[in-house]
Symmetry: D2
Subunit: 469 residues, 4 copies
């Protein structure tokens, strides 16, 4: 073996057991006890040996509008992800209107190449579903391993109308690609924004007021219904509330294959956070917005009962005190110009581990499933990624379950200047990170090299099969 992780407690999405993990050529080749003959052995006694986290919903180096710059590029973004316990991230490669997918992908690959600390793969964002895109470009991209894409029902520059959604979903059906949908009704938001800004409300809190639960519930039901018309599975991303969860549950009861995703902000934040003094609320502006305490309970229920398959960060980092970030010249006076999104790729796993596993809400296999295995299965990376099994990549996070700390942005590794979770106490910490058999972080210190992280073409989703009759 090149490497043996000895004496730890291995967990998968099903099992928890004591075993050594034997690694050779970057791959897990043996699980057993007392494995010997290793070039290097890491003692993991008292530690959990988990599949490296997969964060299938992050935004890195993404064009964000005039004068605005996303805080993280691939270097800082994947470094932060790695320290947060992840070995793979899936950011979005956005097609701009009129742009060929190939162009968008080429540009995005160029940003990533040589800069990554974790493995990466890209979802496409389809903003211009022209005949050429749906007829040739997208099928070609799917064949090349870009097997999932996101579409938006909000944001003026990105939203598709129902006819476009149907046509795009139909391409997904023909190619086996998996569709992710951002569900908020743009017209309804626009109506409310006009109403509330007309009454003089420009402060960050109004961002939440103008994106109430009803606009998410409406769009969720519509996305599910359009997918039902086309007969494709669909991922409902970043679900924030119980009403949208109910739409997922109702659809499943009708036999529809729906994948549900939620994020840490819907467990830990509320819309009241957007009311901070001195425009501090801007730090929490994201879409959908955080809701209230009752909805946090609903989201926990969804995690416990299986409404949600995926727990992602929706990491979308902007600096706060920065002319090109949250407090840009327009944004500091008008919430409409505050870039949407918050950082979180480094805190996702610690929050769910601490609040979920250590507080007894979920067990360790469910943690692994929601943070790694299900992401791999959903997005065509399984069984290479997302589990600890013979033949899988040796992507491993060694967790100390007892480590206690308080989240401080000063100790994080992204390029933003704040964390929305500042000051939250957590138990558990990914202490050593291994990517394809190579130790990248050892006892909290970076030892891996930038650029070791590689791009991953993907197969079709395990979820993208039609429902049984």
């Amino acid at each position: 073996y090149d490497l043996v992780i000895a004496n730890g407690t291995v967990a998968t999405a099903a099992d928890v057991y004591r075993a050594d993990v034997g690694i050779k050529d970057g791959v897990i080749v043996a699980l057993g006890r007392g494995l010997t003959g290793a070039a290097e052995t890491i003692d993991a006694a008292g530690r959990y040996v988990l599949p490296g986290g997969i964060d299938s919903h992050v935004h890195i180096a993404q064009p964000s509008g005039e004068g605005i710059v996303m805080a993280d590029d691939f270097e800082s973004g994947t470094r932060s992800a790695l320290f947060g316990g992840n070995t793979t991230v899936l950011p979005f490669c956005i097609q701009e209107k009129g742009e060929a997918l190939r162009t968008a992908l080429t540009d995005y690959h160029a940003k990533a190449a040589g800069n990554c600390y974790t493995d990466v793969s890209f979802h496409l964002v389809i903003s211009d579903p022209s005949e050429a895109v749906l007829g040739q470009e997208l099928p070609a991209a799917v064949a090349d391993g870009y097997t999932s894409f996101k579409i938006f029902m909000t944001y003026e520059a990105l939203r598709l109308n129902d006819a476009e959604i149907l046509a795009t979903m139909d391409t997904a059906r023909r190619t086996g690609a998996l569709v992710m949908v951002h569900c908020e009704n743009e017209d309804a938001i626009r109506f409310l924004v006009d109403k509330f800004t007309g009454e003089g409300h420009l402060e960050p809190r109004t961002h939440a007021t103008t994106r109430p639960v009803v606009v998410e519930r409406e769009a969720t039901h519509r996305a599910i219904s359009l997918a039902e018309v086309v007969d494709v599975p669909v991922v409902i991303v970043h679900v924030s509330n119980g009403a949208a969860m109910e739409e997922i549950a109702r659809a499943r009861a009708r036999g529809r294959p729906i994948v549900g995703e939620t994020c840490p902000q819907y467990l830990m934040l509320t819309e009241d956070d957007l009311s901070g003094m001195d425009w501090e609320g801007a730090k929490f502006v994201c879409s959908p917005p955080p809701r209230d305490k009752a909805e946090q309970t609903n989201i926990w229920r969804g995690i416990e009962t299986g409404i949600f398959d995926l727990f992602s960060s929706d990491h979308c980092p902007f600096r706060y005190d920065d002319d090109r970030g949250k407090l840009n010249p327009k944004g500091r006076n008008d919430f409409r110009h505050i870039p949407n999104g918050i950082p979180g790729v480094e805190t996702r796993l610690s929050i769910l581990f601490s609040e979920g596993v250590m507080k007894g809400r979920i067990d360790l296999p469910r943690f692994v499933a929601m943070t790694a295995t299900n992401h791999a299965k959903t997005y065509g990376l399984y069984p290479r990624k997302g589990t600890i099994a013979v033949g899988s990549d040796a992507d491993i996070a060694i967790w100390d379950p007892d480590a206690e700390r308080v989240i401080r942005h000063a100790e994080l590794h992204d390029a933003a200047d704040y964390s929305p979770y500042e000051g939250i106490a957590v138990r558990g910490r990914p202490e050593t990170m291994i990517l394809r058999g190579k130790v990248m972080v050892r006892d909290g210190a970076l030892v891996g090299e930038k650029g070791y992280g590689a791009y991953l073409p993907r197969g079709l989703s395990d979820r993208a099969k039609p429902p049984t009759e």
Copy 2:
């Protein structure tokens, strides 16, 4: 008294009791026993004395596309309505794109003037919600007594997008007008039509296949959600199935004021009727299409339990064997060219009376409420219309509950050439019809004059109040 209806059993939406009805100057002035001193007395012993039916959803003399002519004008349409037990009908005055509401109304008034056997009032159809229309024309029309309007989520020429729906609903909110919505997702229908016609399916049955329950459920939830964003009540017209009913029930449980309407076709027909031999299925092409037996049971449940407030005909008559009707040159080969709609203004009341009251599903007050009183209250005609009470117009139908007959188009009074309900046996018959104190039909024979039916400007809806907090 000018007229006394003696010895009958009066029914209102609440009560059933023996009383004479005393009428003077077209108005009910007394309810009592042994009323004397009448110029004329009608003996109604053994009969029900009911408020004349109000059919708040009919299409008369409506432009229907090139080469297609609606079968009924105001003369035949109101004559048929009258024989069916109605004293008031509310057809739709359609704004064409670019047309001023005033122009549409003037034209439509011209068609009605002097030709009616029942009283009439008009809903508007808003197809072009321009700034001028929403800012000036529609508020002016509401002030003039056109206090309700319908909007469409289907039909390429009529559909509004979500932004337009929101703006139009907002005008309703400001003016107190009531919005009716035809809920079917046009883009989804278009997708399915392209799919099925692409596979060579052109027969009438494909009309139903391409408008499945999911497209109605989606649009129903969206209409309700948009009304929730604006905070206005909304009428969901012609509900055909249990899933759409569930959306209404869920909305009410959230405190939303929703009015639900259904129609005879959803009780008596199924999509199998669209599969008739020799293109006979064209006779049953309407939107939403009839569903199946299980959905008929659902619709009955909705009538019994109060999901529905209104039972209307959605009378929308086209001749079948006619170059300008169902079998027009294009329509006889391709369902996409079959005009949508079926006749029913004359059969609505008999069907609900026979299947509902006489079969014990509902009681007489519920029949009166769903066919008359609720229509008057919903559309601003109450208390002048819709009940038997002191001060109300003497619009009365005297029903023989025991008369048995079979529905035959040959005995109906519309200008179509068929009835979708041909051959159905019914018990109960409106035998004598009185409009504002004047006998219009006596023992089944027309005695009233064309043109006695008048136009009714309307007040604001009793339903168009915001929900309690």
Copy 3:
């Protein structure tokens, strides 16, 4: 006419209109305008002329356990009811274990005879469904006009087990009687009482803690299910929360005929009221207990949307500061000995009129339906009682909608020593009360005689018909 009520605004469960009401021999004989020739005329200009309230759920002079005496006998109870706007009340005649129904009825008639200010009729309470009772006594009682009875799922002395409930419901099915069910699971309450008293909790608040929503929801679903097995309608009395409401809604969606009742305490009180200082919480001990603010909103929703047909007081009066009332020697130290029940027959109508009608939550016809008409129809008193129609008893309440006052027990007419609604401001007041044509209260002063109120045998319920297939 013996009496004409002139110039008022008459309201029924369907209609609101200006009319004079002509009364002769205790019966409404005419509705019209400008009625003349009356021995007496009451000017009701600016007033609502409503059917006298029917309170179909009151407890009067009911045996209440050793050492406990119910505050009201028929004299004080019906006097209080009358001043509260009622002309008919339906108290319960309780069968004790082993007692013949005839004996119970004879005793109860003796208490009422000659003492009533309103008309009265009796529900039976079946506590001992022996073969003799179900085989002979109960059918005989139904035939004699005792056409409804209540059964209990709680209270050790009264509860029936499932087999007894089924047998009793089956007798109802055979005789056409209507079953009312008090839905709380006695065993579960007993379990919780043992648990909490074992932990030393003896204060009034524990009454609520040991009767949580789950015990009501369970029993509600069970009662509905047992009625489904037997195939009878059922009245779910005094519903306190949204979960029990949901059971009713679900049952109706399955086609089950369920009548729902709620009461003022579930709109106006909360369990926090049971935490009053110095054992004041005892004043609010009733079963089911009041819940919280969220449940109050649920109950309003149920009133607005038709979950509830009946709004009753569940008047069950005990004196507070009294050795034979709430503060009996044992009850002042241990909630288990506080008699269950609160007064409310005089405040029921004012609360719903003020909070419901005057605050715009419901309209006047719905008020009339929920407080009078539906009671008459449900319990076989219609059309004699419950409406203003030709041929109905002239039981009328003349309401001044503008009168403002604060509820003070000092101004009420019952024999308790407190009101749970003390201090609540209300708009609207029943000013003049007429029973079968006789003025009983004139402008707030008692003018009628004790004993004019009569006993009413009843017909079968309009609701007690099997559901349509």
Copy 4:
């Protein structure tokens, strides 16, 4: 290694991967590729290597009433289980009324000792929850490894009333034992049996008629509610229909920890099977009875969406053509005397593998979870049993996924004389069975010895933790 299973495709509840399995001393000690140094190697190329099935709901050698004998003793029952792909079964040790648990256990152990081909463990059935039983005997039994017990809401000899259920659940709460509930309302069944037998219906089909969905739904809701009062988790066994599933889903949405179980008969049989000619319907008499095609679809939905955690056989075998079986002297004329239960321990896995996995309804990890892993976790056998992981018992079924055959009782290994699944074609077959490292069945031939199967004391359930607040 003592044994290596080479070249197979291993599946767990999370993963599917190619690996050899190395076994020593009856335990899995290594997972890897190219494992060498084995005393014996089984080539599993082209085969699935799955955890041996755990059937946590079987009845073996259970006293069944006077004159009736259960077909299987431990020898035939575990042999049949083994051939069906199982390595562990959990039958029920029934306490008779008045019997000490220790006595019941001693007797039952005596029946099993030396006779088993699979490992076994026992659930208790508590029929007499006396103070001694709940206070001492049951806690002692839990401490000894009998950590789960079933209670009945039906069967006169076994049913507990609500107070008894609460007390028994409370003991479960205190001891950490897990409660399983058979949910059917005995009183309601009794009512219907009396009704239908009174009308002369004695044929097998009436068994289903008198146990309709409503009696199961009622009891399911009640069991869940009582568990909510006590605050314990609960297993709802053998769920047969969508209404009961809805109760589970609703409870989970309230945060209740509910385990759901279903069985093959609810996927493959319908109540029409009880109508067979010549009393053949007796072969399908079990409780709850099979329902209809629509309910089969509901049950599949529950398997697909996670309503169900467990798929068990409820094997409860009686011979058909036998004086001590289905056709006993009384039973051949009256369904009330037909013993309840059908065999199925040998067909359970093949049915779910063929209809579920091979038809694409579920994937292999879900199959493993529902047939093995979840049983082990639910009943305190995990991680020793139920998975393929280092340190777990080497209980392994080697499946040939391509084998096609038709179920014939002649080829099964139980001691009944029929299979309810006779004639059903299935794909997939457990070809070689290994129990604790020992080959028991090789290529379809029995090679293991009777008595190698051992008794397993169990730990507390992973599920028996209180819900998070």
